[in-house]
């Protein structure tokens, strides 16, 4: 009795363990199915390279090049903000800050991640957007630039948390060795600790990028939703994520437009899959330190 009960429970536990794989495969195959049926009617090459996203015109055009450019531009901008701040904060918290305040600083940094993205979008809309409009004298402050600022700060907690783990896991002997040779603490940090923690820091940056690419609500509210190839960072843009979120409500279920949004979802899924896979490779490297 006891034995068979154990057997049943252990089987359930095994199935739950497998569920993650099942869900990933399910999500992928579902997006693939909808995406492929879209690519039967609209060529994949045109989908990626055409500059016009006019899903509702008489002769619809489903080129996601402007959306890809929008996503890439916002992501690059956000990285320029998040990477230096994130890595420097991680160094400060793990190596320099006094022990007593370390946990407090870490919790404060993580607090940013707790704030819902729709709240951040709203705050950006009423604060950053008008400021950007006035300073740079733009027709609208809803631009890739404003989006980059908000998304940059949203990516900071991801980068800090994971970089900090990596920096902390650098063996103490490395530091002691450098200090014993007469290096200052900062020289040790910069030349030894930072180098040894680099795989983990790169993983942290990759995960930060993944977070920014996938961000939807804040980006939709701040970047202006204009689906054209941007000429500068001060142009309004539109990302892949915000296109899905903004247009799914108006589509006819099962129509071309509907399927095209799933095709965008497929592209997003593949991008984040690759980004996370690279991050995972680097994290694996870090453990062999």
């Amino acid at each position: 009795m006891r034995k068979s009960l154990d057997y049943i429970i252990e089987t359930i536990i095994f199935i739950c363990g497998m569920l993650s794989i099942i869900f990933v495969v399910l999500i992928f195959s579902f997006l693939l199915k909808e995406g492929l049926s879209f690519f039967k009617d609209f060529s994949f090459i045109k989908f990626i390279t055409n500059q016009f996203w006019y899903p509702n015109s008489k002769i619809p055009s489903f080129g996601i090049l402007p959306l890809i450019c929008g996503s890439v531009l916002v992501t690059l901008g956000a990285c320029l903000i998040a990477v230096p701040i994130g890595v420097m904060t991680a160094l400060f918290i793990s190596e320099i800050a006094p022990k007593g305040v370390r946990d407090i600083l870490k919790s404060l940094v993580e607090l940013m991640a707790a704030i819902p993205s729709v709240v951040i979008g709203f705050v950006g809309m009423v604060t950053i957007v008008p400021v950007v409009k006035n300073i740079f004298n733009l027709p609208t402050g809803l631009s890739a630039f404003s989006g980059s600022i908000m998304l940059g700060f949203m990516a900071v907690p991801t980068i800090v948390t994971i970089s900090e783990d990596a920096i902390r896991s650098v063996p103490g002997q490395y530091k002691e060795g450098a200090l014993a040779l007469g290096a200052t603490k900062w020289q040790t940090l910069r030349r030894i600790v930072l180098k040894a923690a680099m795989p983990g820091i790169i993983a942290a940056i990759m995960l930060g990028i993944g977070r920014v690419i996938g961000e939807t609500m804040a980006v939709m509210m701040i970047t202006g939703n204009a689906a054209h190839v941007p000429h500068s960072i001060f142009d309004p843009i539109r990302t892949m994520t915000s296109t899905i979120a903004a247009e799914m409500g108006e589509t006819v279920r099962g129509g071309m437009h509907y399927k095209s949004l799933f095709a965008i979802g497929l592209v997003l899924f593949l991008i984040t899959f690759i980004v996370n896979f690279i991050a995972d490779l680097f994290l694996g490297k870090n453990k062999n330190l």
Binding site: I13, F92, I115, V118, V123, N276
Partner: protein, 284 residues
């Protein structure tokens, strides 16, 4: 290049790192202060407990609060047992082989899938294929898959922190592996698992993209009766009132933002303090 005195360069760099840390912390404090300052005056008993009126420009946000609450409760009921079982498998049963490696990779990737893609998936599978329609259950299922990797990761951490000697002591008394897990490992890991669950609840209460097409609606005149109803939710309501309706009174927008933010932050704080408390008071 000028060669700086190492001591001076250390001082300069430390200052720079300190400023970066401030840059990482100050924005969130400014956001919280900004919302509290602008929203505090609109919070009243009536705002929290009455239905919206006059095209949502007046009245309260009760249906959005109830809607968010019902989705989150359903989602956590679904995801917590599955996530904890998966964590038990990974931490207690899984051997270090290819299968385990694939499971871990799958978890990492589930965690990285953009939230709006979960929304698409939920729309396709739950709303359309399983014909659940736009409903609480469809949204809760979507959110529960999205939260699964977070629950698994935190629960696994909690299980992993239970010392190996506890398991050995129990097994040496002749009980089975499952009994050891059930009566020794799980009770000791429970606080960690619960704080992870609270953090997940906080996170999904603020999610908007996955519920856009699976459960949330612009406006419903009454509160939900069953899990097959559509509901209004706080984050979606905030999105609507801040971007979709012209001439929206500011106090409704800030009030909604404050309620949503306080809900999420309170839960996060409970989880963070809970974690600190249990770490101090654990038996090992």
């Amino acid at each position: 290049m000028i060669k700086l005195n190492p001591k001076l360069s250390q001082k300069l760099s430390y200052t720079l790192l300190f400023m970066a840390t401030m840059l990482a912390i100050i924005p969130v404090l400014v956001i919280i202060f900004f919302i509290v300052k602008n929203g505090a005056s609109s919070i009243s008993w009536e705002f929290l407990t009455s239905m919206p009126r006059n095209g949502m420009r007046a009245g309260g946000i009760l249906p959005a609060i109830v809607g968010t609450f019902s989705i989150v409760v359903c989602a956590i009921i679904i995801t917590l047992p599955i996530g904890v079982c998966a964590a038990i498998y990974l931490n207690e049963y899984a051997k270090d082989n290819l299968l385990t490696r694939i499971i871990k990779l799958a978890i990492v990737n589930l965690a990285g899938v953009p939230s709006v893609v979960y929304g698409l998936f939920g729309l396709g599978i739950f709303v359309m294929f399983l014909k659940l329609g736009v409903s609480i259950i469809a949204g809760a299922l979507t959110l529960s898959i999205m939260e699964l990797p977070v629950i698994i990761t935190t629960a696994k951490g909690a299980l992993n922190s239970v010392p190996q000697s506890f398991r050995e002591a129990s097994l040496s008394l002749g009980v089975t592996r499952w009994q050891t897990i059930r009566y020794v490992v799980l009770p000791n890991a429970l606080p960690g698992i619960l704080t992870g669950a609270i953090l997940s609840i906080a996170r999904i209460s603020g999610e908007t993209a996955p519920i856009l097409f699976t459960v949330a609606v612009f406006y419903v005149p009454n509160l939900p009766n069953s899990i097959f109803d559509q509901v209004m939710t706080l984050p979606y309501h905030l999105y609507i009132v801040s971007t979709q309706i012209p001439n929206m009174p500011k106090n409704v927008i800030y009030g909604t933002t404050l309620v949503l933010m306080m809900m999420v932050l309170t839960m996060s704080f409970v989880a963070i303090f809970g974690r600190a408390y249990f770490r101090k008071h654990r038996k090992w």
